[in-house]
């Protein structure tokens, strides 16, 4: 219980962080409950009811095919969550082992980190685009492409944190007691990685949103029949003067999601800051 409250504390401290947390939780709920709460089928077209401004039947209006924007936005949230989870999962599952192994086995580590550096010589979006060309379009490929980009940053962060941990005296102390490499890794290095990686995860999740939206917008991500915020924005281009709400809602969702993730990540990072933690520890004292 104390653990939970200590993680919640940075959010209590600033209203903005709390706002971010609430928004994020709302988006997650909306995404998970989408099939139950959407008023209309996101794919159902209604040629007669095209381009309606927001009204009581369609809170977010309809698009050029007559599809209900609110429903599409909610389903877009599902996709956004899926992509975010996929990217973070992939980046962590590949980046963390690379980073940890590079620290534990320096000779392989050198080679691995050089390869990571090489991948980082390609600007992010370009790397993703290149991978999309090779892999083809689609949601899974978008996840892979963006995932590879953030694999590099995750590997880098894991490497530098683990390297610092390795140099810490407690590792030396462990070794002097005869601890083996594997034991050190699991008992000391990995648990200390959790906090910084958690922070990293929230930022990667945010970047994944923006990256996926960009790919979708360019027509290189999710196919047009799947409702995604990026796709919706791409389609809204032709109608932005006639139907500006089509521009507003999907974009606002992207912004809200990324923004709240950034806020949460910031708050989590504050919790890691040792000075802040001392404040927390001293809260009980007069």
């Amino acid at each position: 219980m104390e653990l939970i409250s200590s993680w919640l504390a940075p959010f209590m401290k600033r209203r903005l962080s709390l706002f971010g947390l609430i928004v994020l939780i709302s988006v997650i709920f909306a995404a998970l409950l989408a099939p139950f709460i959407t008023p209309y089928d996101p794919l159902a077209m209604d040629p007669i009811g095209r381009l309606q401004t927001p009204n009581w039947q369609h809170w977010f209006g309809t698009d050029h095919f007559g599809r209900d924007t609110l429903s599409r936005v909610l389903y877009g949230a599902r996709l956004a969550l899926l992509i975010g989870t996929g990217v973070v999962g992939f980046a962590m599952a590949t980046g963390v082992p690379i980073g940890v192994l590079s620290v534990l086995f320096p000779r392989i580590g050198n080679v691995l980190m050089r390869m990571v550096d090489l991948m980082m010589a390609f600007p992010a979006l370009l790397l993703a685009l290149g991978l999309i060309v090779i892999l083809g379009q689609g949601v899974t490929n978008a996840i892979l492409a963006i995932g590879v980009v953030y694999l590099t940053t995750t590997a880098r962060i894991t490497y530098s944190v683990a390297l610092r941990l390795k140099a810490e005296t407690f590792v030396e102390a462990g070794r002097s007691m005869g601890a083996g490499t594997w034991w050190l890794a699991t008992r000391h290095i990995i648990p200390n990685l959790v906090s910084p990686l958690l922070v990293q995860a929230s930022f990667v999740f945010a970047f994944a949103q923006l990256g996926a939206a960009s790919l979708d917008f360019l027509g290189l991500g999710a196919p047009p029949d799947i409702p995604s915020w990026g796709n919706m924005l791409a389609e809204s281009r032709r109608y932005i003067t006639r139907a500006p709400w089509l521009l507003f809602f999907p974009g606002a969702m992207i912004v809200l999601t990324a923004f709240s993730l950034n806020l949460v990540g910031d708050a989590l990072r504050d919790r890691l800051d040792p000075r802040f933690r001392d404040e927390l520890a001293n809260k009980g004292k007069p």
């Binding site: 090489l118 010589a121 600007p123 290149g130 060309v133 090779i134 923006l210 939206a213 500006p244």
Partner: protein
């Protein structure tokens, strides 16, 4: 003495960059071969006859061993021959050069906004830490760091081009043509859209860096001398905080290059970014390869320059 140190460090860094470039070039070369399917059919399309495929294979030298292909390609690249576009039947380099002016000017203009907005406001937020000014600035910065540039771009088009009609919404006639420098107004909205998230990041970085430096012992020494507070802020805090910010410039400018891809698409600017997207959709692989090559090279050069500038600004950077 400083000159010597500078050049030997410079040479070493340049050498490292060259090695990275060579390694990247291998990957870029292999690009076509990574695409599933036979390269010749990938280029010609599935409807090609075996004879056409064979002819193309010989013409492109695909029958030779991979190593030979790479060397041939690399030698060509060094001489400026990046192959021919499949779509335009013209040299890739020429096509890229056509788009260069737009993209470079866009990037330059964007960096100007980023510096003019990000750094001063970041400084302001840091010096007034905790006040409403700081909280507003930081909140706005975090907000704009989360917006997709193309959304900002579309909104700018909506407001300033469609509703107010003040600025054009697409295209870009060169400044060397009719209109001269006033044609830069075509780049105003796109550069603002691109600048938004980047200025936000630089703002936050400047602020964080200044707050970090302000805690250092030497700032206390500076105060102890009795100099004016604004002198402490500029000569001691800012001067050191700048190091971290400049280091981020390379990263920012380089990121701009790839983010410009989307912005140029939104504003229909005839730049390299839009060229990439169109080439991907048109399956014009030589162009894709060429653009990626050039962009990576540019990225490495920019990072190199930032490294050298950093060395100049920070006398502590040691020779390894």
């Amino acid at each position: 003495m400083l000159y010597n140190i500078l050049t030997s460090y410079a040479m070493r860094r340049t050498g490292a960059a060259a090695v990275t470039m060579a390694a990247a070039s291998v990957i870029i070369f292999a690009f076509i071969h990574l695409i599933p399917g036979d390269p010749t059919y990938v280029i010609l399309g599935d409807g090609a006859t075996p004879e056409q495929a064979e002819a193309l294979r010989i013409k492109m030298g695909l029958d030779k061993p991979i190593f030979v292909q790479y060397v041939t390609w690399a030698l060509n690249v060094i001489q400026g021959d990046l192959g021919n576009s499949l779509f335009f039947q013209a040299p890739v380099l020429e096509i890229i050069a056509d788009g260069a002016e737009t993209s470079l000017l866009l990037a330059g203009l964007t960096m100007i906004w980023v510096i003019l907005i990000g750094i001063p406001i970041g400084m302001l937020a840091a010096t007034r830490q905790g006040t409403t000014v700081d909280q507003t600035a930081s909140g706005l910065a975090m907000f704009f760091a989360s917006v997709p540039t193309f959304w900002v771009g579309l909104y700018l088009i909506l407001i300033f081009a469609a509703w107010l009609g003040w600025l054009p919404s697409s295209g870009y006639p060169s400044i060397f043509e009719e209109g001269g420098l006033t044609n830069l107004r075509y780049l105003l909205l796109p550069s603002l859209a691109l600048a938004a998230p980047n200025a936000a990041l630089i703002l936050r970085l400047t602020r964080a860096s200044m707050l970090d430096v302000a805690r250092q012992d030497y700032v206390r020494t500076a105060r102890a001398k009795g100099i004016r507070p604004w002198q402490v802020t500029t000569r001691h805090i800012f001067r050191n905080a700048l190091l971290a910010v400049v280091a981020a410039f390379g990263f920012t400018l380089a990121g701009l290059i790839s983010e410009a891809v989307v912005t140029e698409t939104v504003f229909a600017l005839p730049g390299i970014g839009r060229l990439v997207v169109q080439s991907i959709l048109r399956r014009d692989y030589p162009v894709i390869q060429g653009v990626i090559l050039i962009i990576v090279m540019l990225y490495l050069v920019i990072n190199l320059c930032v490294d050298l500038i950093n060395r100049y600004l920070d006398p502590r950077v040691e020779l390894e």
